[in-house]
Point group: C2
Chain length 349, copies 2
């Protein structure tokens, strides 16, 4: 059967298309009897509003673009899931773009999404610096919220976990369980997660014991680097290895086991993010859980409350960007347990 349109419904219900539109969109009050007839006709004909036409006319597609570096990064799927749920619950659809960790691809994807007239953009930038230009340009056109990673000061609203608070939780826990000679395996570069976590580690360790020499090595957020880094720090025999994320920690755990180290007896290992892998490692990894559902909800809230960019640039001071930081939670598992302490069992996958 051909497509059922508003006209068909109007004809069947014996009224004008405007009335049908009003009933179905609930835009303005309509007589109870007419409304019933319209709904009945729409039902009977199996009418389904054409969102494309609606979008063209109302200048709003009900669509948000979700741009991320690489969906295969194990931290992202759960975030994508929560975002999808929150947005669909508001009747908005998600256009997904995977940038293959490449800023140029990212710029192209952003352009494609803007061409499709997304109402807003949710974006995890590929690179703190090299993403900035494209992000700033996009932010001038539609409401845009940065997620998980920053993109330079003042570029756009952003929502992320409080990395400093998370690192503080880790250090506190290690101190409380008697660890005295921690070291850090971090990531180099300016990405906010990398920079904030290593700064927080440095600050926290100094507060713990100002005389302790700082043992920190920097590489990247990968399992390989975790493995390699252990060879650099293990000779100093730390009693705790604080890792900047779970991938690094997984690699560190593997290598420590190969070297015959006793985890957690001899040395504790901690991660960050609580990706699915963390609960599956052996021993299960103590880590910092990001409040994923809250991050998603907060991002969605910022999107909807930020009014569309003015068509004509307003003179005067620019609206200040909003930065939301959410508190994470420490998840203590076997990799940092002092003897006999009960810990959370392995995660379920």
């Amino acid at each position: 059967m051909a497509e059922v349109t508003l006209r068909d419904v109007a004809r069947a219900a014996g009224c004008s298309v405007a009335t049908v539109s009003r009933v179905l969109a609930g835009t303005r009050p309509v007589g109870a009897e007419t409304a019933r007839a319209v709904r009945e006709a729409a039902d009977r004909l199996g009418y389904r509003p054409n969102e494309v036409a609606r979008a063209l006319r109302s200048r709003s597609t009900g669509t948000v673009g979700l741009v991320l570096p690489q969906i295969t990064n194990p931290f992202f799927p759960s975030l994508v899931r929560e975002l999808e749920h929150v947005l669909h619950a508001e009747g908005r659809a998600v256009l997904l773009a995977d940038c293959d960790d490449d800023p140029e691809t990212e710029a192209a994807r952003i352009g494609a999404l803007l061409g499709r007239r997304v109402d807003a953009l949710l974006l995890i930038p590929v690179d703190e610096r090299r993403s900035r230009e494209a992000v700033a340009a996009a932010a001038a056109q539609v409401p845009l919220v940065l997620l998980d990673r920053g993109c330079g000061p003042g570029v756009a609203d952003s929502v992320a976990v409080d990395n400093a608070a998370g690192m503080a939780l880790v250090l506190e826990h290690l101190a409380a369980t008697g660890r005295r000679r921690p070291c850090f395996i971090g990531a180099a570069g300016t990405a906010s997660a990398a920079a904030e976590r290593r700064a927080a580690y440095a600050a926290g360790v100094a507060a713990l014991d100002p005389t302790a020499p700082e043992r920190a090595v920097l590489g990247e957020f990968s399992v390989e680097w975790g493995r390699a880094a252990v060879d650099r720090i293990w000779p100093a025999r730390p009693d705790a290895v604080v890792c900047a994320n779970d991938l690094i920690a997984a690699g560190a755990l593997q290598r420590l086991r190969q070297l015959g180290a006793d985890v957690p007896g001899e040395v504790a290992v901690t991660g960050f993010d609580d990706v699915p892998l963390a609960g599956l490692a052996d021993p299960a990894l103590t880590t910092v859980r990001q409040p994923v559902a809250e991050l998603a909800a907060e991002a969605a809230r910022l999107l909807t409350r930020r009014p569309a960019a003015a068509l004509v640039p307003v003179p005067g001071p620019r609206r200040p960007v909003r930065t939301v930081r959410l508190a994470p939670e420490l998840v203590v598992r076997a990799s940092s347990a002092p003897g006999g302490v009960r810990v959370e069992p392995c995660a379920t996958s």
Copy 2:
């Protein structure tokens, strides 16, 4: 600045909107000089075609809906990534829907995507049986390709890995490396991956040694089940544990280590899918790698070649559905290595 439209470009180039449209879309030949002027004007004004208007007029949104059970299932992200790349390369955008493993949510998402007038649907069904109705209804409206899992016979075109071939590779490898007493930890239910893999195991083992008693236990595709199943099969002291997917295998590996079993010396363990976790397990997991990029390419090909459903149902025999099965590849790692054999190093995550 207000939105730049075709009219603006036409005015700037000194021609009609029709001409501009033709130049930009390349629909019909246009004078070289005019074309140049148009392109120059479009560039200068920063014109970006409004895909919404284009979609309304041309009755094609250039958009594909991707519906999946749960993006957090570790097998899906790499598939989503490949699909996204293949589709974006053709200038199509991906509307993502996550069904939370629930058939009703799935039906609702499908409806929402159809309302948005997606040109086609790529769908990994939540359930072989309970998804069927919604999927069949959707397939009547737009081209639809089933991915990874089936949904009953004759419902729609489908693309998936050849599970039987994969299982045969595993059994062959185990036989070749001297394993004689395998057992199987599978998944119950009618989902195609579960059913095909356990059938292939049964057939392969019987062919290997018709007198061997079949040792198989069935549960679900989860780490927990892998752990629990080991307690059921270990007393019989198999020399190989064939698992229906990598999650099960990861659980089995954990439990075997707790029990003090020597993997791979005493018993080999194999998985299926080659999710990122597989290379990270200890010992790294021998598994069957799905040809993810090829699956994605094949799915995209089926989508574009299936002409849109006829507006008026044609009488006569229905077009037969196409079923594509792609051959997987065996990835031998430490969990099944006979002594001294070189195996692929850990995956890089």
